[in-house]
């Protein structure tokens, strides 16, 4: 990571690396994806149970889930393009500085493969409210961020095509994001769509930088492989969530026969809990209980 990249990253919250993949690597990754997409579309089982948990619209896979590392597990040679991305030297050399040594793959890969006319999504993430597990910090001439998404482009994303977009510098924002920006109904001119070619890689501060997806306008299919990394001491989802329950995180004798309140503080670390982690409350008389509606 050179001085120009460091300046751009600190200033904007994202970075585009040009032509990291060769034409042959792009071709291999696209072929592996097409093999996967044809296979899952042809499957008779419930889409929710198909490998990679694809979202299929009009017979086309338009997105996969980021909860499962399916693309790393596929049979050879189809897994290989994705395995080559996970610890690619161009990425490792940046993530060591962005997230710190010992950075880790938290969840993914997932693939976004929108077709022309598909809707976008709201802008999300920002410096406010503060989220410690993905937050950006800079002092003493060094910088750290809790979460970085690495997005490998397998198709061009030309100007006006839509797709990934972001609000540069929003990782340092300390005020609530206006609704007009979140839904792009009045984005104040703050939203930016980076222009990319197949083979480029976009890195952005996931959760800290405001980002989202614009409707896909191009005739060709969008193709982006997203892998989500975190700093060594941060956990968002993936196996951290899968094995987050107290009995999965601690040795048996430590959590045996705990009360629900005791057990509530023994869950493993992860941010993407959707009600399964109990929150504790304290009544005026000092009684500790579980917050209503949480586990």
């Amino acid at each position: 990571m050179d001085k120009r990249e460091r300046y751009f990253w600190d200033l904007t919250g994202h970075l585009v690396l040009r032509q990291v993949l060769s034409p042959n690597e792009i071709k291999a990754a696209n072929e592996a994806y097409e093999w996967y997409a044809k296979k899952v579309v042809d499957m008779s089982q419930d889409p929710g149970q198909r490998p990679g948990r694809p979202r299929i619209e009009n017979g086309v896979v338009v997105r996969t889930s980021n909860q499962f590392p399916h693309f790393l597990q596929m049979e050879k040679p189809y897994c290989e393009p994705f395995r080559n991305m996970m610890a690619h030297p161009q990425i490792v050399s940046r993530l060591i500085e962005m997230c710190g040594r010992g950075f880790r793959l938290d969840h993914g890969p997932e693939i976004i493969s929108h077709v022309q006319g598909m809707e976008g999504g709201s802008m999300h993430g920002a410096g406010h409210p503060h989220k410690p597990w993905v937050a950006y910090h800079n002092n003493g001439g060094r910088h750290w961020v809790g979460g970085v998404t690495v997005s490998w482009q397998l198709a061009d994303q030309p100007e006006g095509a839509g797709g990934f977009s972001c609000v540069p510098a929003s990782h340092k924002s300390r005020f609530p994001m206006p609704k007009g920006v979140a839904w792009r109904e009045d984005d104040l001119g703050a939203v930016h769509q980076p222009i990319c070619e197949a083979g480029d890689v976009v890195l952005f501060m996931d959760g800290a930088q405001t980002h989202g997806t614009m409707p896909w306008q191009a005739e060709h299919q969008r193709r982006a492989v997203l892998i989500k990394y975190t700093g060594r001491t941060c956990a968002r989802q993936g196996p951290a969530k899968q094995y987050g329950a107290p009995e999965d995180h601690w040795n048996e004798e430590v959590v045996a026969d705990m009360t629900p309140e005791e057990s509530a503080v023994m869950w493993g670390p992860y941010s993407n809990h959707r009600g399964e982690v109990p929150f504790l409350t304290v009544a005026e008389d000092g009684t500790v209980g579980i917050e209503e509606g949480r586990a």
Partner: protein
Amino acid sequence: MNYKVHEVSAEEMYFFDLRGYLVIPNVLDQAEIDACNAALDAKMDEARTFDAGRLSRDSKALGGDSSRIELTGMLGWAPALRKPFRKLLVHPFVVSRLNEFSGKGFRLDHGPLLIRAKKGAEGHRFHGAGEPFDQATSYHQQNGKIYCRGITVAWQLADCNPGDGGFAIVPGSHKTVEATPEEVRTMEDDMGLVEQVPMKAGDLLFFAETATHGAVPWAADHDRRSVLYKYASRAAARTVGKRFTPQQRYGDWTHELTPEQQAVLYGPGVHHGGRLPKLDSDGETVWIEGDN
């Protein structure tokens, strides 16, 4: 200060944010203190004693003729012995403060841990600070809210009077962005910044792990006894859980990956006993530190 069990006062928020620690007096009654001490006494043969010099390193100001004695594992002891420590785990004074200091969904990262010291025991070199930044325990305050990723709750089971030694801190150091002078860490010239915090048995201490803290040599006739619970905010990890390696987290298929690819699949946490292979790269190749 006026302490309410179920809510943190504005004065407590001010003091914790300003100083990086907070003491709430008289939280435990004598029966509760006695129950903890009796359970500890019953298991004291399992304690380990550090060699003198391990914690004070080369500091003359922190040196002593013995070191601290540690005992852990309380939550997994037999029911009668673990009971007082499980009660402390989610004590209402702890829950109400941690909901504010670390956020709802806070978690126990590691501990409890008894720190015991006999008269003449060495101190502990001062560690932690706002600079260099430590993502694991960082302190942040924004728009009226506190976000303390690593916070230690220390229950006092014996008095720490002025001059006794024990826990000490550099107030305000959780926000420093300049390097801590070595002579402050060793206390050989602490610039008048180190404060030994007087406490009584039954008092409850909270401190931000990122504040510069340590221990001064124990000078009292009675033993130091403090039990520490190390909490973290919801998505922060210092100690690794039961599933740390790629195989434990993802399955045996990960054996097919190169060592460098496997290296990014380890679980979160920094207390891994040297098991984590760390990657390095020059942008053209990737290798594991120490392998080249």
